[in-house]
Amino acid sequence: MSRFFATGSDSESEESSSADEITPKTSGPNFRQSLLLSDDEEDTKRVVRSAKDKRFEELTNLIKTIRNAMKIRDMAKCLEEFDQLCRAFLKSKTIVDKEGVPPFYIRLLADLEDYLNQLWEDKEGKKKMNKNNAKSLSSLRQKIRKYNRDYETEIAAYKENPQESADEEEEKEAEESGSSSGSSDDEEEGGEGMTAKNFLKKEAVPEANKFLKGAKGSGDEASSSDDEDDEDWGEDSEDSGSSSSEDGEGKSSSLACRFLKKTQEGEKGLDKKREQRKKKQKKERLEEEAEEEAGEEGEGGWEKVKGGVPLVKPKMFAKGTEINTTVVVKKLNEILQARGKKGTDRAAQIELLHLLAGISGEHNLGQGILVKIKFNIIASLYDYNPNLAAFMKADMWKKCLECIDELLDILFENSNIFIGENIAEDSENLAIIESQPFRVRGCILTLVERMDEEFTKIMQNTDPHSQEYVDNLKDEGHVCGIIDRLLSYLETKGSTEEVCRIYLRRIMHTYYKFDYKAHRRSLGLVAETKSEQDQEESEGEDSAVIMDRLCKFIYAKDRTDRIRTCAILCHIYHHALHSRWYQARDLMLMSHLQDNIQHADPPVQILYNRTMVQLGICAFRQGMIKDAHNALLDIQSSGRAKELLGQGLLMRNMQERNAEQEKIEKRRQVPFHMHINLELLECVYLVSAMLLEIPYMAAHEFDARRRMISKQFHHQLRVGERQPLLGPPESMREHVVAASKAMKMGDWRTCHSFIINEKMNSKVWDLFPETQCVREMLVRKIQEESLRTYLFTYSSVYDSISMGTLSEMFELELAMVHSIISKMIINEELMASLDQPTQTVVMHRTEPTSLQNMALQLAEKLGGLVENNERVFDLKQGVYGGYFNRDQKGSYQQKQGGYQRENRGGYQQRQGGYRGGDGQRGGGYQGGYRGGYQGGNRDGNQGGNRDGNQGGYQGGYRGGYQGGNRDGNRDGNQGGNRDGNQGGYQGGYKGGYQGGYQGGYQRGGGGGGGYGGYRNHQNRDQSNY
């Protein structure tokens, strides 16, 4: 097309302008409207014509088009028209059977075949043809060959006597000239009035398929064509009843343009003829143009034949129609039928529905019908965006809110309206009948839920740092208002299920908001200004009370698992947000959500993750460092906190996530105003990890099997170590790393200054509502943990140390120091005893030195080595079973004499057993052998080496070692490895970590495991208190 635009002829500029005016996808309606326009002619006399005439006329029209196309060598057009012709011919089969094959039909077939053959021969011409045409030509040729076989005799007869129908042809020619003169008339009138032209054109072109001939000049045919249409589209009866004079101005003009274009096509045809004589080159170009346009026309024609979607009339009812409920309902259904179909103008539909609502309002048809229409308006508003990912436009959104508001108004005012999904279409009661309530099908709850989702979508799609976001966010109040209204409506009228759903919506809009007023009230502050006081009074209950009421209702009444789960999570979140740690924790533990959350759908999992994070942060604020760390571990250790919390997508390559998935994930994102600050989260996590890990590291400095409590933290430490030049810390992480280093040395003052300073305050600590409490708690924790670290690190240097000195050093009360040291002694972390009278700690100095530690490690490693070696040997024995003759060996041993027997009796016995079993090489033998071996060796070797403190530990270790290592499973090894004190915790850690890595949002068993361990720990802690 662009090629033609470039030429810049008049017709083309018109074309483009018309293209602008015509709304896309409206070709159908336009056609319909064009019919309406012709209703003026309704009054003119109608002539009844025979079926034969009608059919034949249709045929002749098609033939005419084909001949025209033949003249301009437009094969594509030819093919299309020929197909139509065949179909039309089939349709008129009955008539043809009666009357015989009409001669003009045969003539066309013969001519067409000749023509095609001729074209086919013309190789050069064929080359010049564009691809489309050439393709059409070959397919048409094949088709006509096949087709003509049925009519061979007739065609042969015709070829014998072509003159027979010459007179007919003459007739046609005359008609043709008439048509051309008619169209030229049109051109002349063109300047006078659009509508006139429209009218003429409308007849000329849309019906062109049927008759392009001049016949259209007469009113008869116009009406006949109308009749035809009436037949084809039975529903149009109403349309014809309405008058077209009401047609919208814009539409008529656009129509005009559209038809004008077509007129010009005809015009062009004439032009072409003239020019043909003058310039050959130009002719070719125009030919192409004509072809193109013919193609377009063909498309139009195609649509017509197919029939458009059921269409909408601009005018609802014919004049004088009595407007009553049934009519309106009928109309409504008619409009709705177009819903969802291709080519329906959705904006126009919404307009129509509004209009209908207006009409029904005018005529006082009652609230029932109004409600029904409103339902449909809102539904069509939602439908406006066909794409699920796209969000509503601002104006649509406003309209939607208004509509729902109005709907709610109506529902509140009229208590006699029943609505529900379960009311069947036919049992609706829309008309005003005294003593009978309205019954309307539809679910307001669904609409409101959808509205809420749309709101989320809008928020997701707005740039969170723009003013627009703020503006959009202001609508949240409105949304909440609607939800509240619906809530109070449903509380009186809805089923429990519905109430649960709307309660959840309400909860979803409440749980993440911090209730500052309640907070202030709880602090005992009185609002400073009067207006604030007023506001407080009007605020009503605390959000906590609301949450409690709503959630408890859901817990009691809900039968779908999902709503309850969400409600619980939101409730926990809300508790955690308001520092009600014990309630939050108990609810989390009671719900057992951590066990089965991996089966939930991703949005719920995201909510779960959010809740866990909030819980962890809450624990941190309360000074429960271990709990905080455990709760945050899952999320943080994966390194994908952002993704797990639904706060953004990580950059990943396309292999892992295709466009479709990305869209889905984008839809899951939490709107910005609900985000949890990731830096705060990380800082809380790292600081808790520091408080746990640094003393642990100091305590287990020489332990080869030392486990990391937090991989993430260690990673940060390593990153810090790798810095070639250590400047003053800049980022939050650097601060924590620097603080950790200070703490390692037991230097709590430096540590304190790194954790709590201006930068960190502004970045992190000030984000808490109770900043001061948190900071005080932190200082205290730093002092305590630094003291522990100090004792671990330097206890070997001291013989005894005064608690008073320690209390001075760490600025802790003496009692506190006493309690910390006592705890360490009880837990056997510190080998010391307290000397009461002098208030000193006396070190026992039983800790193994680093060299001793090393030797122990080496012994263990050698044990492993020996065992591995044994296995090689076992295998060898198995493979080369006959390699060693048993008797030979035995005799060899006997030769060794008494020395061996005395000294290594136990061993030899074992060897003996081993040999005995060797023949079969059964599993039992292996186990026995190894067990025995290990038992003997280890016990003798190491049991004595270690003091009683580590004895129990060893037992555990060996068990795990044997079990795990045999299976080649390291994890088992580690599990058994740990002493009871750490078992629960570490198990949780491991599980959580792995889970986090494996599942996407589904942290799977890991999550559960993580919290499982955490729970164990909790119990222990409590018992400690």
């Binding site: 030195t849 680093s850 060299l851 090393m854 030797a855 490690q857 080496l858 490693k861 050698l862 492993g864 080595l865 591995n868 070696n869 296995r871 090689v872 295998l875 060898k876 198995g878 493979v879």
Partner: protein, 336 residues
């Protein structure tokens, strides 16, 4: 006035202590090596250099050396061979022995048995038969006793290296263990009389404190380090064993499969014969069952050698220390 001597004839080494040479100072070589490490070696970093000298009768006399310059990856175009040639040419100009007879390397707590050493010593020994590698232990030296050892690869190991076949079978066939990988060649340091005289004089003048450096009791650091290194090697060893274990397990499994397969084949063929059908064509069994890749055993061997080395070190060290401790105890008792 000169140093090192030893002999080598077809792998049989004997030391001829009586041989005297009137060549330049032997102390020079030792001091040069020590200086080289002092200047460039840091911690576990290793310094290397070239030994120059000549074979005299049944001894190898080392009369001079020069270091390989330390070079970073930045100057990649540095050509070591070129440098050596240049250096030797210059030395010849000043009439110094310029025959290449080996190389030296410093070591960190006795860890030198490595693949790199094996490879380079092999190439040396391959090209210049009399080549030795001199291992200098700076840490031991710093403690008061010069530690300098000369090694050569045994002829068996040379054979294996030539074949480049480190499979378990090949090593078994060669019957080579970690004990037989290297042979130590005795070293004798000879100085000119003038230097000996100077040494005497210096010893006379030195204070008592300098002399008793040897009696230092703080030993745990050294021991710890040795243990640490030993542990690392043991870990490596364990890993290698596990690898070997998997290999032999796979091998035996496959052996079994192969066996089963052959048996089945035979049974089938027997059945076919009874039915009078033609026997199935013999297929290439080796193709069906590709034997698993055997793990190279040379590394294990080297690790074993290294472990042995560490053990010797520790043993030596502890026995010395125990002696010192007893001595110290006796002194304590005497004083009190």
């Amino acid at each position: 006035s000169f140093a090192f001597t030893w002999v080598q004839f077809n792998g049989e080494n004997c030391l001829n202590k009586d041989t005297k040479t009137n060549l330049q100072d032997g102390l020079k070589v030792v001091l040069k090596i020590i200086k080289h490490y002092q200047e460039e070696g840091q911690g576990s970093e290793v310094v290397q250099g070239v030994l120059l000298g000549l074979v005299v009768e049944d001894r190898l006399e080392i009369t001079n050396c020069f270091p390989f310059p330390q070079h970073t990856e930045d100057d990649a175009d540095f050509d070591e061979v070129q440098y050596q040639m240049e250096m030797m040419r210059s030395l010849r100009h000043v009439n110094i022995d310029h025959l290449h007879v080996g190389w030296y390397q410093s070591t960190f707590y006795g860890s030198f048995v490595s693949r790199a050493l094996l490879d380079s010593q092999f190439s040396y020994q391959h090209a210049i038969e009399e080549s030795v590698v001199l291992i200098y232990d700076p840490i031991k030296t710093a403690q008061g006793s010069l530690s300098l050892k000369a090694y050569r690869l045994t002829p068996e190991l040379m054979e294996i290296c030539k074949e480049k076949d480190f499979t378990p079978e090949a090593l078994k066939k060669a019957n080579i263990g970690f004990e037989h990988m290297f042979e130590e060649v005795p070293i004798v340091i000879k100085n000119s009389h003038l230097i000996s005289v100077l040494m005497w004089e210096l010893e006379d003048k030195s204070t008592v404190a300098d002399k008793h450096e040897l009696l230092n009791l703080s030993s745990s650091n050294h021991l710890e380090k040795s243990l640490q290194l030993l542990m690392d090697r043991v870990d490596d060893m364990s890993q290698d064993i596990v690898k070997y274990n998997t290999y032999s397990r796979n091998l035996s499994k496959q052996q079994q499969q192969k066996h089963q397969y052959v048996q089945r084949r035979q049974q089938e063929n027997a059945q076919r014969q009874t039915r009078g059908e033609a026997a199935l064509a013999e297929e290439d069994i080796t193709k069906l069952f590709k034997p698993p890749q055997p793990p190279p055993r040379m590394d294990t061997l080297l690790i074993a050698g290294q472990i042995n080395n560490y053990c010797q070190n520790v043993k030596e060290f502890t026995s010395q220390n125990l002696g010192k401790l007893f001595m110290a105890e006796a002194l304590q008792g005497h004083n009190s």
